[in-house]
Structures are given as C-alpha cells and as structure tokens.
Symmetry: C2
C-alpha cells in the first residue's frame, strides 16, 4: 500500500469484502431496506433481560452469521476490529468474548464501522488472510445512556436522530474477487463549535465534507467518479448542510449522494425526525443493502463515509462542543 | 511483516520508537519513578474546572511534548492512535481535536497503550513514516465514573487499585536506530468468571498469561529471552496470581517479571492498596521509565504487555463477569 497525498492510502492488492451480515430491530424491519437484512427482530429485547445484553446478542449473532455465510473457519480469522456506542464498548467485548481470536477494540462513535474496515484492510494487505469487522447500536440502550431513560417519555426535538437497533459485520480477505477496498481516507477530528447534542447531523457534516474533499484531492477523483457517495448517519438535516458546504467549496454532489440514516427509515411513515444514526446504522445499511448492490453490480464504485460525534453525555453538560470525525473508504467491483 | 504462529506478527523492518513523553499527577510525583517523567502536576485540576477537562489537557500536553522533543513536524505525522477510560473516550477526542492529523480512536481499557503501539507499528511498517500513540487516565475522573464520587469518601477494598493520573505518548517512525518494535502479539478476550469490579488484577491475570504464552509459543522464545517482562497494571494481587498461573503451565517468570502498577507507587509509603492501574499507568511508566532504560541500554529486550478489563460500571450492576484482554509487544535495542 502507499500514501496518496496527505491522508489517503491506496492498496496495491486491494482486499476483498468476502461476505457481510446484518441483524436489525423491529423499527428497522418496517423500513424500506427490511428485505435486505439477514434477520429482523420482533422486539428490542430478543429474549434478554436488558437492552445492553440484547445489543451484545445482536452483534454476537451477526458475527456468527457472517462467519457461517463466508465458509471461513473461525480459526483462520487473524483478528477482529469491533466497537459500539455503549460506555467502554461493552456490547462488543461481551458479545464477542467467546470468539477466541485477537481482538482490537475501537471507538469512533458512529464512524466505527468504516474505522474497522479501514484498519482491517490495512491488516489484510499487510499480514492477515482474514479480518472480521463488526459494530452495533441499540435505540433503547443509546437513549438511556446518552439522553434520557425511555420510561420518562421525553419529547425528542425535530433535529434529533433515531439510533438504529442493529449490527453489521464484514469479513475482509486478502485475496478474492471483490468487491475490493481500493483506498481508505481516515479522517481528522473537526469541531466547528456545535453544542446541541440533539443535532448530531449539524455537528458531523463539516467532518464529512472535510474527509471527502481530502479524498478527492489526494486521489484526483471528482464526485462523479462514484456511482454513490454514502455518508454514515448525517440524517436529513446533516445531509442538507453537507450539500451546502460542498457547494460553497465548488463541489456538486447532489445527484449521487445519499445517507444511511435516510435510507434505513421511511420519512413519511416512520417518525424518526432527522433519520437514523448509530454504529449499527452504517454497518447494517452497508452489510445488508449496499454490499448486495455491489455484488450484483448495480453499484460499481462507492465512497462509504461513516461519520461520528466524539462526545458523551457529560461533556454536553459541561458545556463542551462536539468534536466530530468521518472515515472514508472507496469500494469498487 | 509476517504472521508467526497463531497470533504474533513479526516485522521485517521493525519500526523505531523515536521519542516518548509523559506527564503525571501529584501522587505519581511522590512515587519512585518521579524523576523519569517530563512533567509532574501539583494538583489534579491543572487549572481546569473539571477532572475530565484536566485529563484532556494532560493528554494534549503530553502529545505536544513528544512532538516537540522528537523534532518531527506535526504535518509529517501520518496518523494518531489514542484512547482512554472515560465514556466514549472523550479525554482523547477533546484533548487531541486540534491535532489536525488522521485520528483512530481505540478502546482496550488499560491495555490501550500497547494496542496503540501494535496498530501504530503495523501502520509504520506498511505505509506511515510517523505514527503517534497516546493514552491517558485520571484517578478522580475514573473513580467518579466507574465507582463512586470522591466526595462520598467511600472505603476502597484491599484488592482495589489506584488509577494513575497521567498520560504517555510515543512517536513511532518507519526508519530509525531503535528501540525497535520487533514483534506484536495482540490478545484474545479471556473471561474466567471474576465478577468483583474491585479486583481487576484477578480478572486480568489470566488474559495476561494467555497472551504471553501465545507469544512464547509463536516466537519460540522463553521467558529468559527478555531482560524484563512487564505487565500493564495487574498490581500486587494480579501479579501474584499471574506468577501462579505461569508456574502451573510450566513457566518460571519470577526473576524478570514486574508490573507497571507496582513500579509507579511505593507500596509502603503510598497507600494504593494493590497498586496502580489505568490507561495512563502503562503509558507513563513505559514512556517515562522503560523507554529511557532502553535508550541507555540498561534494558535491551523487553516484553511489554498491557492488560485491560473490558467492563463498565453498569455491566457489574447487571451481574456480568469481567472480560479481559492483554496485548504484548517486544521492544529490543
């Protein structure tokens, strides 16, 4: 692999995304992408006593599904990158504690899935034959932890997003027939001073644009190189802001740009306000929907850019702004 | 680089640890390693209004110090791996938000510093010229978040450890004159059923032994290959347990094995119960003390094995056990 420009890495032998799997919750099962997921749940508990234990089960079973679908024996998987939104990433560490393969815990808030694919691809080209990448989120555990217990029945402002209950997992392999991870552009932290923890889209949009323009500059590509540019979870408000910032920088992305948080829910029939979010949003939309579109050559070149807000509930209370980040990978068939 | 055995990676052109820096709090300043740190603080706030903001300042200034000492311009640093113990790793993301270099957030609890050095070394051999690695922890923010607010004056049981207030940072470079990272052995999650959140040493000791024995098996090395085998923060109780498990597996490590959590505090004059812990423990002890011993060839071959307990305060309340992990790197001059 080699460095392109200031922050992009181009692979000499691009790793293949061999297989993906996704499991989502009941609200996602009523959304427009329902048919693409491997499994949809009837309720938010899945037989567990707490939402946290349910989230651990979701990532565990998603990983079991991708391993099973891939046909690769678990003992031939060299390492795993995983993370989630719960304090100290316990969904991943509890859900995957029986895997028995080298484990790298990562945290990039909702950008974690592409952070995993980025580091996984670097490992796959350099030493690993197979690398597992997985993330999860859960509406109920996230609301309880970041905002208010659901039992309080608090109102959510129109700018807020709905954390996806779900998980996505991908198995990367050193040699394969694609879809290939051709480049990665890991992001820098960008903090434009947004303080509203109920407006993540606005906080994350500048980081998204920053990484995508760095990607274009480093690679010499322009927006129309891609069939689709997909952000992680800016939602409706964040997407509009991103399009505006792109325009002010001389880029027109409107025709081929969409967002996982917009794709996963129906704006009219499902009241999620600004759309979906969470580590499981980009992970399940990619693993369920986009990966299949790539396999069937309905999409041939995509830029997947997961976005994350790197704050916690206490930092908002201490008056802090919201540092954000976005990691991009180009996937081509 | 190439895979050795089941979980070790050996570098063909071992990356150099070019420079390190460390800043610690007032209690650490009274400990036996005080003279090795770049800066010691007079109080736990360092002029900030909250412990969390103080911790962010500590990691920020530690990173500024290592960059300044190294002479490498920040714009020639290809990426940064950082993490901490606070919910959603806000110490790192807030402290390092002005760095303006590609940022990978990672979480391995107290194992994070060696996780950073592991991933940083993989990047340094494969595409990066310079990689920054940094972690931090803070006694007051950790007690507040994981156990009880300090204002309550709760008693701490004899098995408990004292979270180090401090940060360590290392700058890895592709080509240099050492100390070299020659191999890395990333760990698997090990959960032996310990439920006592005030006995981290017991929870983490089995993960430590698991990784070290995998390292010996993969490399063909034995304990006496190393001048020192150093665990991250098992403390006095965890160290004794680890020595016992090693013995039961046929390994005698007693003469050259020590622990960062034991080294950083004086057992007699500083009442920390079982010793130090936290992301900042292994980071500051390595960056302050061990790195200098390597540079002066007082130590020539060490195996640094940071250990982490992958739980949060809620998982303990929900009756969960404590999954643990240990990542090992060999550093040689």
């Amino acid at each position: 692999m080699k460095k392109l420009g200031s922050q992009t890495i181009q692979f000499d032998s691009p790793p293949t995304i061999l297989e993906c799997a996704s499991i989502v919750g009941p609200k996602e099962a009523q959304g427009p992408l329902a048919k693409y997921f491997d499994k949809t749940l009837d309720d938010e508990f899945w037989g567990e006593k707490t939402w946290e234990k349910a989230e651990s089960k979701i990532i565990k079973e998603t990983v079991n599904t991708v391993i099973s679908k891939s046909g690769v024996p678990l003992n031939q998987v060299d390492c795993c990158f995983a993370g989630d939104l719960l304090n100290q990433c316990i969904s991943s560490s509890f859900g995957l504690r029986e895997l028995n393969i080298p484990f790298f815990g990562i945290f990039g808030a909702c950008s974690t899935f592409v952070e995993a694919l980025t580091l996984g691809s670097i490992c796959a080209e350099s030493f690993a034959n197979n690398v597992l990448c997985a993330t999860s989120s859960h509406f109920c555990s996230a609301e309880k932890q970041f905002r208010f217990p659901l039992e309080l029945g608090n109102q959510r402002p129109p700018t807020s997003q709905w954390t996806v209950t779900g998980s996505g997992a991908a198995l990367l392999t050193k040699s394969g027939s694609g879809p290939f991870v051709t480049t990665v552009t890991p992001g820098k932290i960008v903090d434009m001073g947004i303080k509203d923890a109920n407006n993540m889209g606005a906080a994350m949009a500048p980081a998204f644009v920053n990484t995508v323009i760095a990607h274009f500059t480093d690679t010499g590509r322009s927006p129309n190189y891609y069939d689709a540019i997909i952000s992680g979870d800016l939602g409706h408000i964040g997407k509009d802001i991103a399009v505006d910032i792109f325009r002010s920088q001389g880029y027109n992305v409107k025709s081929n740009y969409n967002d996982c948080g917009i794709l996963i829910f129906d704006k009219k029939s499902q009241d999620t306000h600004s759309g979906g979010s969470g580590c499981g949003c980009c992970a399940s939309v990619f693993s369920g929907y986009l990966f299949k579109e790539l396999k069937e050559h309905k999409l041939k070149k995509i830029l997947l850019v997961a976005t994350g807000a790197l704050m916690n509930s206490m930092s908002a209370q201490q008056g802090e702004t919201i540092p954000s980040i976005a990691h991009a990978i180009s996937i081509e068939v």
